[in-house]
Amino acid sequence: MIVLLISLILLCPLAAFAIFGLLGLAKRSFPRQDYLSTAAMLIALACSLLLLQEVVPDPEPHTVQWLSLGSVTFSMGFYLDSVTAIMLIVVTLVSSLVHIFSMGYMHGDPRYPRFFAFLSLFSFSMLFLVVSDNLLGIYIGWELVGLCSYLLIGFWFEKDSAADACKKAFLTTRVGDVGMFIGMMMLFTKFDTLSLYGEGGIFAQAAAQLSTGDMVWLSIAGVLIFCGAVGKSAQVPLHTWLPDAMEGPTPVSALIHAATMVAAGVYLTARMFPILTETSSLVIAYIGGITAIIAATIAIVRFDIKRVLAYSTVSQLGYMMLGIGVGSYVAGLFHLTTHAFFKALLFLGSGSVIHAFHAMHGHGHDDEHGHEHDDHDAHGHDHDENHGSEPVLGSEIPPDQDMRNMGGLRHKMPITFITMLIATLSISGVPFIFSGFWSKDAILAGVLGRAMEWNSVHHYLLFGMALFAAGITAFYMFRLIFMTFFGEPRNQEMHDMAHESPKSMTVPLLVLAVLSFPVVNTLWFNADYVKPPEQPHLHAPAHAHVSPDSKVGEAGLTFSLFGISEAVAAEDGADDTHGAHGDDAHHGHGPAHTIAMVLSIIVAGLGILLSWLFYHRRTLSAESVATTFRPLYTLFWHKYYFDEFYNGVLVAVTVWKSRLFAQFDGTIVDGIVNGVGTVTRDILAAFVGVFDNRIVDGLVNQVAEVTWSIGGRVRRIQTGAIQTYLFVVLAGIVLLILIFRVL
């Protein structure tokens, strides 16, 4: 049953794509590719829901032999635990909604069928990644989603910015992937398998080697695998591709670059949870924390609605990483899920706004990518406000995405407004009734809990970072809402034309809005449903003031206050029945959670308040603040100069190096052969008695020319005078006699 369902889930989208591909060879296309793809997704969604019941604790993977080399075998297979099941639902659900949304949004695009085919391929790859039980399968899905991302970002490839962005996305993630591959090689060399689960799987073997002491290599392997996640989940320092990826159609941004693919990194890290050591965990946590802050601060100063959301995504992904890094496995994944819904909602909402603005541009529904031709005078006056142009990629904000052209839209587009507001409240961590609050709070509590438990400076620092990022998140998200939906319309002409989007677009918004409430996320609150795996290689540091047997992997995140559930995190066997709250054994968690929750509510409130003051009431002037903190502002505005660094240094060096190599190839390598030839020639020339200083300078034909020139010298002895010949005979005879007399 499981196998059948999973196969269905995978095959339906694949079939949708395959039909497109095969017909494409015949230069045709299926008349309703959109229906085909959407139907495939809906079937997959239904199957995913059915699968929920099939989940059992500690499942065995279902594998088939994929590649057998005699001594070594690589299998492919499915592994279905609760996390997989939830991920399946998230992916299929968001994907289905995005499909439906796209039917409205992409309507009339000349490459409309291709768009759906690519979406199908993406869905297949993502689902494949999710259900794989082994690193090789994950890697395959991993690269395939990368490909889809490449294809979809570059969907409107006529735009140079899109063409640049898709290449950048692929290459940047590829850098991370190579790290992941090296990590895989390390694991394979050690364990002779790439399967994660089951007997003989990496986890089982790694657990068995617990006692072998030095696990430095395991830390390195863990960090290397995490590199893949850094690339794909756009963590610092490989985050720069994600904002540029917004060049793709907005539904793509929602599905791939917000909800699912970028979360794959988090998923992978979570999957590798059992082999994370304290070093690798700490690296992950720090990368996550730093990313959360950097991305959030950059988001504050963006004006492009999609870029704001993009940086917000990066920041939230950092959050999830941080959660996993501090051992809050469940919290991290929980945030992944909630984020998938509300971020997809935000993106689709922004898509709806863009779509609305779009219509008035007279391009009609059919031609979003037409904005490459858009009038540039709009930007002209923008630049004054911008304090200099935005560097490198995406330097021109399309007017229909520029928040400075928006304002007061809440009346024009009520559904979009309401749904986006719900999502914003959720992401900002407005307490209790929004799912985002719970998941973010769980992470914060997890960090603080670990800090208190281990008494670790690192973790206190991380908690500070997380809290700071939470505040900023609330600030810039409300900035977005205020600038877009409140106040006076800043561009009256555009405002007049704006309208609410068609049903195919609003329905998915509404569905997603519903999903942003905690009620629908109850699975996460069932302590038995999602259990963090053990981390045998993670040891509490010596100065930790908890009993050594305390399982840090379960850094307790209780929700005792409202009794929604026992715990997000599972307990170890003995404590399962009690739940965590109020349990003495977990005394550290209760307070940690309370403190975290209170603090997070405070910072979120502060953020919203400031935002209100700046962008709604306008009591405070963003411009004056910007002037006051000019250096900081510039830093944020230039996105910490990552792109400048990469373009100016890394790319330039690579290109330079390649030129050098090519030059080397043309001159030196051919030249070495030449050099040998030259030496030979000189010796021979001496022997022949004819010296010629002229050096044959042909670059490539060297050997031939040199040999040729020797030939020329040899033939010069052939003077044509018979007595010379006879002299050579005589000399030859004498020489031969001399040689053999001496010998």
């Binding site: 033939r715 010949y725 000399a731 007399r741």
Partner: protein, 498 residues
């Protein structure tokens, strides 16, 4: 076995006698032929050659189970070795006669003498291949030389031909004089003219310390001068490019194949029957000497060939280089080495004669021997161009052509004796040689012909293609046929070696 007396020998001397008769008949008939354009004498010579060929085989059959018979009181010897060369030489002569019929550069007035001289030179070469006595060696060598001087200068009113003859005779006279001087010392030291006895006596005398090794060395080097001149090895090669270029093309072909083969026959007899005892080797390591000479010969030949524009001259240098390859086999005191030489000579006969035949054809058509004349040949005459390409690649030594198998035998023999450096030099030379052979191929295939030549070209006759195929087919197939290996091995096995 006792050498046969003069009268008894005549029975086994039929081929040579037939050659003499043919030559005389050709001259006589020529006197009576009215039409100077007709090829009657040529066909008559061919008929004569045919008879000689039959006689050679029959005479060889008379050997029965004897490995060899000494004739004329030990002057010459009849054995498989000599029969091998006789067959080879007859093939070369036949080809040369056929080329001559087709060549337009030969003067019609002198055809009678021309063919008679060809038959005479063949006789001389027969004797070279079978001599076992200093006197006979000298006489046969001079017969061949004198005749070839005349043949090289056969084109009256052609300064190049005269110059070739002049250089040839000057060079040849000095070389053979030098050789004769060396022979006189050999005779003096051993008191005999018979090669077998010379070997025995030298061994005894050296063992007894009665003669200076230096004297033996000088004698050997002087002999080498004469033999080396015949096979055009460095440093006795310098006549050959000039003579080859100046001589009529059929004669060049003949010299490059037959003369070289006969030279090698003499060389092998001389050195293997005369100087191969261990005592001689100890005092004079002539194999090392030959190895050096061989390496130099192929290198000089190949390098000098590189810049040549005249195909005939290019092939002359190539011929020198091939002499170098062949000498590699002579460096070794093994039957494999000699067998390899013999085999290579067969291969060389076909591919080199084939190449020269194409030169004849192009010279007829273009009136030029320059590489430019070969431009676009592939489109004008694809079959001729294809044949030429096959000959050239075979000369380079690229499988599956016979040249490769020949080289392979030589290199295998050399490597077996541990002369790695020599094999290496030889192989590098093969690579170099590709370059100049490929220049001709390039001209034929990769370059377009001038408009003028393309339009004026005349189609080649069926006879031409038939004759070409006579060379092409063996060039492709010899390597794959066992009998040739066997034949050359049997020929070697009869040589008295110490």
């Amino acid at each position: 076995m006792q050498p046969l007396s003069n009268i008894e020998s005549l029975l086994y001397f039929t081929p040579e006698l037939l050659l003499v008769v043919s030559a005389i008949v050709v001259i006589l008939v020529d006197l009576g032929v009215k039409n100077r354009e007709s090829a009657t004498v040529a066909y008559l010579s061919l008929a004569g050659i045919g008879c000689v060929f039959a006689a050679v085989l029959l005479t060889h059959g008379q050997l029965g189970d004897r490995t060899s018979i000494s004739l004329f009181l030990g002057m010459i010897r009849l054995d498989a070795f000599s029969t091998f060369f006789k067959v080879l030489l007859l093939l070369a002569t036949t080809a040369t006669i056929l080329f001559s019929i087709r060549s337009e550069e030969l003067d019609a007035q002198l055809k009678g003498e021309y063919y008679a001289l060809l038959l005479a030179i063949t006789l001389g070469m027969f004797l070279m291949a079978s001599s076992t006595n200093l006197l006979m060696i000298f006489i046969s060598l001079e017969t061949v030389s004198l005749t070839s001087y005349i043949l090289a200068g056969f084109l009256t009113h052609n300064p190049r031909s005269s110059e070739a003859a002049f250089k040839y005779i000057t060079y040849g006279a000095v070389a053979s004089g030098t050789m004769l001087f060396g022979l006189s010392f050999l005779f003096g030291m051993t008191g005999t003219g018979d090669l077998g006895q010379i070997s025995t006596r030298l061994t005894e005398l050296l063992a007894a310390g009665e003669i200076y090794p230096l004297a033996v060395l000088i004698a050997i080097i002087f002999v080498l001068a004469g033999v080396g001149y015949k096979i055009a090895s460095v440093p006795f090669h310098m006549w050959s490019p000039d003579v080859y270029e100046g001589a009529p093309i059929p004669i060049t072909a003949f010299l490059s194949v037959a003369s070289k083969s006969a030279g090698f026959a003499l060389f092998i007899r001389f050195f293997y029957s005369g100087f191969s005892s261990s005592e001689v080797m100890q005092s004079v390591d002539w194999t090392l000497m030959l190895a050096i000479v061989s390496a130099l010969t192929m290198t000089v030949g190949n390098l000098a060939a590189l810049p040549q524009q005249n195909v005939k001259r290019l092939l002359a240098y190539s011929s020198i280089a091939h002499g170098g390859y062949l000498l590699m086999g002579g460096v070794l005191l093994t039957s494999e080495g000699i067998g390899a030489i013999l085999f290579y000579l067969v291969v060389y006969l076909f591919m080199n004669l084939g190449a020269f035949y194409v030169v004849v054809l192009i010279a007829n058509e273009e009136g030029s021997e320059m590489i430019e004349g070969y431009r676009g040949l592939a489109s004008r005459a694809p079959l001729v161009a294809g044949a030429m390409a096959i000959f050239l690649f075979s000369l380079t030594g690229i499988p599956p052509f016979a040249g490769f198998f020949g080289k392979w035998l030589l290199f295998a023999a050399v490597l077996e004796q541990g002369y790695y450096w020599l094999a290496f030099v030889g192989l590098l030379n093969s690579v170099v040689s590709l370059y100049y052979y490929a220049r001709i191929v390039k001209a034929m295939y990769l370059e377009a012909a001038d408009e003028e030549t393309a339009s004026t070209s005349t189609p080649f006759s069926t006879g031409t293609f038939a004759l070409l195929s006579v060379f092409v087919i063996p060039t492709i197939l010899i390597g794959f046929i066992n009998i040739f290996y066997t034949f050359s091995n049997i020929s070697v096995s009869v040589l008295p070696m110490q």
